[in-house]
Amino acid sequence: MLSDTDWSAIRLTLELAAVTTVLLLFIGTPIAWWLARTRSAWKGAVGAVVALPIVLPPTVIGFYLLVAMGPEGPVGRLTQTLGLGGLPFTFAGLVVASVFYSMPFVVQPIQNAFEAIGERPLETAATLRASPFDTFFSVVLPLARPGYLTAGVLGFAHTVGEFGVVLMIGGNIPDKTRVVSVQIYDHVEALEYAQAHWLAAGMMAFSFVVLLLLYTLNPTGRRA
């Protein structure tokens, strides 16, 4: 059935998706808040940049990340000056790529949830002398919970389903960058269809269950 390398790919994939999702919930919240409330002329531009990964093919993102994170690229120079070394072919590199690649799937549901709250609850909280922080944690976050659930699930699932970017910057290293989607690709290319089937069917089942849970638990929550 599943070999040791298959299991290690599964473990790595779940780890990558978990780290990415947690990071994205933290990074995505202020971005979503700003996008939901701002009247700035930059709103359109920032929203478009966040949404780019939805329309760009993974090859574009993978190619530019490879060049940017390489020793000659701006990100690569920065990480090397900071003594972090190069990002491609490392788990950290995959996390950086995934944060960028899955960002719209986390930011957009949260932003929608924030927008749905509207001005009233915030004004009411202000008249009750709640500080902005207090308002955010005791009014906004509870009201935006369905949005956060959608964001977390979609961010996680989308990272699990990532392939092109990982293939381009990962280098296929066992235990470090060889995630399930790449492992399936390897099996298919090596004509090991039986192993490919086990993993691929597992992915199908996993993705279906995740989305089913999301839509059952959160039937009214806004989705990306």
Binding site: L66, V67, M69, G70, P71, E72, G85, G86, P88, F89, L167, M168, I169, G171, N172, I173, Y185, D186, V188, E189, A190, L191
Partner: protein, 250 residues
């Protein structure tokens, strides 16, 4: 006037028909390592024969799977001799059309000048972080790289530094962007007209790994395609041979 335009239309139609009969199109699946020479060869082939060659580049393993599942290719230029033979055994290729169009050579290459010495001693120093190879499970050049390192007694020491490209083109890209300091690539990727195009390289002696025989074969779909036969013939002619040699193949 109408009669005249009818005649000229008929003439045009007949001309198109005649053109269609002698100028055919051949869909060619080409192993990634042979990308650069094949582009030149295809241009010469189109000029010399009037046929058209449509090229697709990728890994031999992927092409195998696609061909077995009905991909519309007439000719396969593989990176090994095993895949064409297998396709022939399975009835997916035309028996007796198979021949070795080139024997691949491998180079240990770095994008920075002076990094790789002429003897490959840099491998023993091991001062690099990443050594790029093609996936040995999928790509003949990857298997040859592993075999070479094994013969040099460096396989166990260097394995942790491996980064694997899905095919030899991706392996080249890892090294070309500087993300891997050096890597085993196809000599054809770094040599043009017999000289190194950039960086530094050690041409791996062919005695260090089993010869990378690259075979071409006509696929079942190309059985009656005159352009497919013409291309196979053209690959054996001096013009094509000269280009293949210039890219470092034997």
């Amino acid at each position: 006037m109408p009669a005249r335009s009818f005649i000229s239309l008929t003439g045009l139609f007949l001309a198109l028909m005649a053109h269609g009969a002698c100028a055919a199109e051949v869909q060619v699946a080409v192993a990634s390592n042979f990308t650069a020479p094949m582009q030149k060869i295809a241009a010469g082939f189109e000029q010399a024969t009037g046929h058209r060659a449509k090229l697709a580049f990728g890994s031999t393993g992927k092409f195998y799977a696609q061909i077995r599942h009905g991909a519309p290719f007439d000719v396969l230029l593989a990176a090994d001799d095993e895949t064409p033979a297998r396709l022939e055994r399975e009835g997916a290729a035309v028996a007796g059309s198979r021949f070795t169009y080139s024997i691949g050579r491998m180079a240990l290459w770095s994008a920075s000048p002076g990094y790789v010495d002429g003897q490959g001693a840099v491998l023993k120093q091991g001062t690099f972080k990443h050594l790029a190879i093609a996936n040995p499970k999928l790509a003949p050049y990857g298997a040859a790289a592993v075999e070479t390192l094994d013969r040099l007694g460096l396989l166990a020491a260097l394995r942790p530094k491996f980064v694997q490209g899905e095919n030899i083109a991706q392996t080249f890209q890892f090294v070309r962007t500087g993300n891997a300091e050096l890597g085993f690539v196809a000599l054809s990727q770094v040599v043009e007209d017999g000289t190194l195009t950039r960086g530094s390289a050690w041409v791996v002696p062919s005695g260090l790994h089993a010869p990378i025989r690259q075979d071409a074969v006509i696929l079942a779909r190309g059985k009656d395609n005159p352009a497919a036969r013409a291309l196979m013939k053209y690959l054996k002619q001096d013009q094509a041979r000269a280009i293949i040699k210039a890219y470092g193949y034997n």
